[in-house]
């Protein structure tokens, strides 16, 4: 029994990991773009982006999942997105908005003098960004990003809202089929181990960047 549960949970965890990794891969660059939009000097764009971020951050991810999956069909009579694609769209948009706020905070917190010091030394814009600002921004955003990324691990469970089966779903099956509760506790082990690894990773990164102060 234990081994068949393990295998089933592993399969569910595969889905969890897939959502996790793909969300990061797409939401980080998109979040960077959104943060640039939110800092734009072009007012209409700035307010459009800010309103969008406000809506996404101000409503539950679960609601967004349901709307993205059923919305196009019910509102416009379009074909439904495949379930997994709908999950990815919702997660990427949602997390890109959260990340964008972290990026914006990190970028705006860098004193203007850092940029100007580079300018008067004759550095180009891109040299200033890559050689001076970037590492300072990264140092500032590692702690909030690690929080957000660990939240993402647990948010993946929401995928089941539109019947994309991840690890908890696979464990819950055993309640009905075999009257077993321990597979649910067992999923907790997966989460704990995975979040533990991430925590160690981010701790390592923070220590790596500890040699300077911003």
């Amino acid at each position: 029994m234990f081994w068949s549960v393990t295998a089933s949970l592993l399969e569910g965890f595969g889905m969890t990991l897939k959502i996790f990794v793909l969300t990061l891969v797409f939401a980080i660059p998109l979040g960077l773009l959104i943060s640039f939009g939110a800092m734009s000097k072009f007012r209409p764009l700035k307010w459009l982006i800010k309103t969008f971020v406000w809506i996404i951050r101000g409503t539950p991810l679960m609601l967004q999942l349901i709307i993205i999956y059923f919305g196009p069909g019910l509102l416009f009579d379009w074909e439904l997105l495949p379930r997994f694609a709908a999950v990815m769209v919702a997660f990427v948009i949602n997390y890109a908005c959260y990340f964008s706020e972290i990026f914006r905070g990190g970028i705006e917190a860098i004193p203007k003098g850092q940029y100007e010091a580079g300018q008067v030394l004759g550095m180009t814009k891109s040299q200033i960004f890559f050689k001076v600002l970037l590492l300072q921004v990264i140092k500032r955003i590692v702690p909030p990003m690690s929080n957000e990324i660990i939240t993402l691990v647990k948010d993946t469970a929401l995928a089941r809202t539109i019947s994309v089966y991840e690890i908890i779903w696979n464990a819950q099956v055993y309640i009905k089929s075999a009257g077993l509760i321990w597979p649910l506790f067992y999923t907790g082990v997966y989460y704990l181990v995975f979040c533990g690894i991430l925590t160690l990773l981010f701790g390592y990164l923070e220590r790596k960047l500890d040699y300077f102060r911003v």
């Binding site: 003098g113 140092k139 040699y211 911003v214």
Partner: protein, 262 residues
């Protein structure tokens, strides 16, 4: 011939409040000029215009006879052209603005190393080029008395030491004119001396400098010439000892009196 000639420089941030109202200023090679004046008189704005951090509304800036900026010229310049113009000047900020993730020595060499990469003979000579840059960086740090601190990061240095690194960093680009914006105002009083000493040394070596300062005794002793600014204009200028000790203008006198009172 004057190395720097500024004429009729004007700048306002909003229409009704001009900050610079026609500044004329020229500087001889090797001359040290101190600018004094009360808060809000436009001293920082002047230095920022000279260093292309602000765009003046009117006026011209010439260095060595070459017009670097003519505000009536509305062409947009390429980034590379503006950079070349910038390299005529150096600026030392009130708040140091060292790059925190680099050591003292790396702060001094960073911009030179990046610039060297663009040199046509970089590929063939990059070992010699970079070695020379590092060597020069060490020499400059020795000159500001920080040879032993070259591998420390800014947060491991005192304010006075940080400002001395910032001076070395500005010197590394060989500016024709080095500008200082209140280089000691952010420092504890007991740390100002070491920074002023470095600047004094530069003056003795005939570095061309514009120094905005509230250190009147320093301005009197080190500058060749002192300029008093008020409300965006130059009210009085002359030999340092004369302006500080025997000001001709009433406004200068009031300013200096208030200063001695404070």
């Amino acid at each position: 011939m004057a190395i720097l000639e500024i004429s009729n420089l004007q700048k306002s941030f909003d229409k009704d409040t001009p900050v610079l109202r026609g500044i004329d200023l020229s500087l001889e090679q090797g001359e040290t000029v101190a600018i004094i004046g009360s808060s809000g008189s436009g001293k920082t704005t002047l230095l920022r215009c000279i260093n292309f951090l602000e765009t003046p509304d009117q006026g011209t800036i010439r260095v060595g006879g070459e017009t670097l900026l003519d505000a009536s010229d509305r062409r947009t310049y390429k980034e590379s052209e503006i950079r070349k113009k910038r390299l005529h000047f150096g600026l030392v900020f009130q708040s140091f603005n060292l790059f925190p993730q680099y050591t003292a020595l790396e702060n001094v060499t960073l911009a030179s190393l990046l610039l060297a990469k663009e040199a046509p003979d970089y590929q063939s000579h990059h070992k010699e080029l970079t070695a020379a840059i590092w060597e020069k960086g060490r020499t400059l740090l020795r000159q500001v008395g920080l040879a032993e601190k070259q591998d420390l990061y800014p947060h491991q240095l005192s304010g006075g030491q940080q400002q001395r690194v910032a001076i070395a960093r500005a010197l590394a680009q060989n500016p024709d004119i080095l500008c200082f914006d209140e280089p000691t105002s952010a420092l504890d009083p007991e740390l100002t001396g070491e920074v002023l000493k470095v600047i004094r040394g530069l003056a003795e070596q005939k570095t061309t400098m514009i120094i905005v300062t509230h250190e009147m005794a320093f301005a009197r002793d080190v500058a060749d010439r002192v300029i008093f600014m008020d409300e965006g204009v130059i009210v009085e200028e002359g030999p340092a000892k004369q302006v500080i000790s025997h000001p001709q203008q009433e406004r200068t006198r009031q300013f200096l009196a208030r200063f001695q009172g404070a």
